[in-house]
């Protein structure tokens, strides 16, 4: 099956010089680039110092000049300017920002018009609602990236086109603790070097010219020291922890799911309200009762030395010499990793799926966390018997 493709492709490539008219793909990149360019802007704002660029890219999502871009320092200015594909230089204003989607909506403001008034611009645009309805792209899909990477395009010059494939559709946090980045949802990782200065806010499109995502910022995987090339999908979705008062007036945490589509829809109308989010204080997590071997190295493996009698770990059947290897699928490289994970992610009553290495095999153990036992008072020595 695939062999046929191989043959076929090579034959087709070789055939090119022989045919009178060169072979063309059904979806030639030049036409795509030209069409897409008209739906893109170059954004100029704050920055220009200490490695922060004062330029970026944006995607037009309405005929009136609503523009989707990333939530960056670029927008921290009242002098926001965009350049259209034809070189027009227009002022713009921020309508909505959501760091946890790493997205922002800005809108072109013509002189003498109010921001909310129709301005009669009639620009070419991406229908965001349409784009968000399509299923996400898959690993191996060919993609094109358009952005003003390195500010190479000036005024009416077309943006740079890059070709690549979707390397993976996954959460950036697949390697946990690696990225310091507010967005926690799925991204398109691409195999082209797309995330360069000025590229953030650019468009990731498929071969049909459909919008797939917004090119993200430059972020580095601090663990492997490699830069990431990714775009936030139009289908993006994140869970935001909202701080609400319960009927007793106490602070409660509520999970709100925010989609890129609802952000864009509300944002365009100027109706997007950021929820009052919690800053999750790290508590002590649920109680397990595992006693680990002495934690002497930064990377001491999580070997069980003992379990507290009657504790959740004892009930679940942990044994000395078990090596805690995965908790809820997350690799546990060391005692430190385990402790941090428990504190950050668990509470009393939560059920964890713990995989332990026992001998030469992994055993899965269900561990129901409990509440931390009250600090037992230091045992007092028994009173001395009174000597007569």
């Amino acid at each position: 099956m695939t062999t046929r493709y191989g043959n076929w492709l090579l034959a087709a490539l070789l055939a090119v010089p022989f045919t009178a008219t060169p072979a063309r793909a059904a979806d030639p990149f030049n036409e795509l680039a030209e069409k897409t360019n008209q739906k893109m802007v170059k954004v100029f704002g704050a920055g220009g110092f200490s490695r922060l660029n004062n330029y970026g890219t944006g995607i037009i999502i309405s005929p009136d000049g609503h523009i989707l871009t990333v939530a960056s320092q670029l927008l921290d200015t009242s002098e926001l300017v965009v350049h259209l594909y034809d070189g027009q230089r227009l002022k713009a204003q921020v309508l909505a920002v959501e760091p946890e989607l790493d997205a922002a909506i800005i809108k072109i403001r013509l002189d003498g018009k109010k921001i909310e008034e129709p301005n009669g611009l009639k620009l070419d645009y991406f229908d965001f609602a349409e784009a968000a309805k399509r299923p996400h792209a898959e690993t191996g899909d060919w993609v094109l990236a358009l952005s003003n990477t390195f500010e190479i395009a000036l005024r009416d010059e077309p943006l740079s086109l890059q070709r690549g494939v979707v390397m993976a559709y996954t959460k950036l946090a697949a390697r946990r603790g690696v990225f310091e980045f507010p967005y926690t949802g799925e991204v398109y990782v691409v195999d082209a070097i797309t995330n360069n200065p000025g590229a953030a806010g650019g468009a990731l499109i498929n071969r049909k010219g459909e919008l797939l995502g917004v090119i993200g910022r430059e972020i580095k995987n601090t663990l492997s020291d490699t830069w990431m090339n990714y775009a936030i999908p139009v289908t993006a979705k994140v869970d935001i922890k909202e701080l609400v008062k319960d009927k007793d007036g106490k602070d409660q945490e509520k999970i709100v799911t925010e989609t890129m589509l609802s952000f864009v829809t509300k944002g365009m109308k100027g109706e997007y309200k950021r929820v009052n989010r919690t800053t999750t204080a790290i508590g002590e997590g649920g109680y397990h009762g595992i006693v680990f071997v002495p934690n002497i190295l930064d990377r001491t493996p999580a070997y069980v030395e003992d379990v507290v009698p009657g504790s959740p770990a004892a009930k679940a059947g942990f044994r000395p010499d078990d090596l805690v290897s995965f908790v809820d699928g997350e690799p546990i490289a060391s005692i430190n990793v385990f402790n941090t994970w428990i504190k950050k992610n668990t509470r009393s009553g939560q059920v964890l799926r713990v995989e332990v290495r026992r001998g030469e095999a992994l055993q899965t153990i269900e561990l129901t966390l409990g509440a931390h036992p009250a600090k037992t008072a230091t045992p007092q020595p028994a009173p001395m018997p009174k000597t007569p």
Binding site: M167, T170, P301, A333
Partner: protein, 723 residues
Amino acid sequence: MNALLTPRRLLIALLALLAAPATQARAADLNESTEKAMKAASAKVAPTVVKIETAGGAEMVPGGPKKGGGPPPAGIRKGTGPTTGLIVDADGFIITSAFNFANKPTDIFVTIPGRPQRLVAKVVAHDQTRMLTLLKVDAKDLPVPSAFPKSGIDIGQWSLALGRTSDPDAEHPPSMSVGIVSATNRIWGKAIQTDAKTSPVNYGGPLVALNGQVYGVIVPASNRAEGETAGVDVYDGGIGFAVPLEDILAVLPRLKQGQELKRGLLGINPQGNDAYNASPIIGAIQPDSAAARAGMKVGDKITEIDGKKIPNFSTVQHVLGPKYDGDEISVKVMRGDKEMEFKGVKLQGTNTAYVSAFLGLLPMRDDPGPGVEIRYVYPKSPADIAGLKIGDRVMKLAPAAAPALTPIQNRSALLRALQQLTPGVEIKIEVKRKEGDKVETVTAKLIAAPDTLPEKVPLPSSAGKALEGQPKPKGKEPKDPFGPGCGDADEDASFGDDKKEDEKKEDKKDDKPKVETGFIKRTNEALGREYWVYIPGNYDANKSYGLIVWFHDTTEASKDGEKVGRTFRDVCEDHNFILVGPKSGNKDGWVPSETEIVMQDVKTVLGQYTIDKTRVVAHGQGNGGQMAFYVGFNARDIFRGVGTVGAVLGTNPKENIANQPLSFFISGGDKDPLIKDIKESKDLLIERRFPVVFREMKESGKEYFDAATFAEFIAWLDSLDRV
């Protein structure tokens, strides 16, 4: 399946296309079909691509040698993130990049697509030449990929780099990065090169062809360095490498048995350092090596290996690069005008280290001969036991077994004669006594070079006739009987511009008073970098001078420039040394790439003065000492000694070579926090059988030599041409 790209098929396809009016329509879907083919190829291999997770092991692994030479080894922080592997045997064998195991994890877990439970894996063996690790999990009936035939790999073919690390779910398609085959036979014939993005994201994963066959396993690699982490610094740089799966499958049976695969060594060394131009004449043979066992000799010119013509030493490296320990090769050489063939030469995994043989005397320098005057006899050395005395002249010498004695013209000839012998060999020496001009023949049994230093080296050390016998008229073969190479059979080829050198020397002689002496600052015109030289006030072109190349410590206030000049002033005058001090352009430490600049400065000095090439020494303190080690090992055609204070070896030492010997003088303060590492460096060098003098200075931290050690250092410097 393998007929994928046969010319016949291509031709048929081409003709069909030309004939068919549908060409346009079919070509129109080119992108569509290529994209589909890529996904299909990935899907075909995906079940064999596994996720590997590790726990435990070191936090940091030493940085690659590329970086490790100059600055303090940076080290690579080894992630705890997952890595990728490829199933190569249905019974649970998985091959992966050794990079993933550089930190020696204590626990390894493998997730195989379609099997929900993670499996515990064990390391079975390593292929040290290709930086691969074989793992074993307890599983049966696993799918295995099909290898793309190596002979069919062409530059320009699509290549897909697959990995399992981006997505925590092994049931999803593996991550894919697309590129083409950029080159074949890279890294000395061991790897395919691709421009698909390779990084820790897919190291250990397969590089796949469009038909779903596997070209090879993705590894970080560098043709300039070795080790698990070599080449990591070019991640995502458009240069990626994969070891052909066909090659891996060929050695899989050996790996499965737990055999550690090593590089196959022939045990020969070239004459000079120019692997590309110099003809492949054997300059040295490691004792007991494959070449030695086969009967190859120093001076043999290699013409063919395994039927491949060998124009230069670089080709030798290319042909031998992919070979393993135990592989057999056939070698053709020219010995004089006789062609000889060695068949079934069995390569070895390790070479027995070459140990310099020692007779126990210091020769008088700058004496055109014939014969060599003895300047000093080491007490209790073979020479002493044989009754050789200061002032005697060594006239002839040969192994006791040889039918006749070989006349020794001068010091260089003496060094060369002894370099070809090993400790334990008995030799006969014809000596002309100082007293009464009596000629006698004595015997001595050579020993391994000891780490003792002469208590006080007698002066003068030079007969002061260095320029005697220098050819005045041009056009004649320039033949400096003392300096160049001392031991290089092809000594005059060492620097390329010997003629100029000779001319300059003539100038020096004619205009002796014009030689500027003292501390001189210079600028390397081509590079605009400064360096300094110190020429002793009593410079005499008729004496050969040792050269001390000083590498300053870049981090701390260290003895620099004029200060070093002052420290060494008396030494330079009494023992005939010239100092040269290149400057690092880097505050954080020397970088290996500065070697070339340094060597330019050194070669300029070598060309301007009468230099004794047996006493060219790299000397440095702290990170400058580390650079001295590095340069010493990487410019072996020039350096014969490395002297360091408070410095650590940045890389694993190379082998000792007969025609390019190196001696070491290593010191450190007992209060230096690095003293443990300094001692380790020393031990590593001793392990490689280099002559090493080590001095731990009492009550000293990071200071320069104390007076006693300095005196010993001088003795070491002045006895580098000991035999």
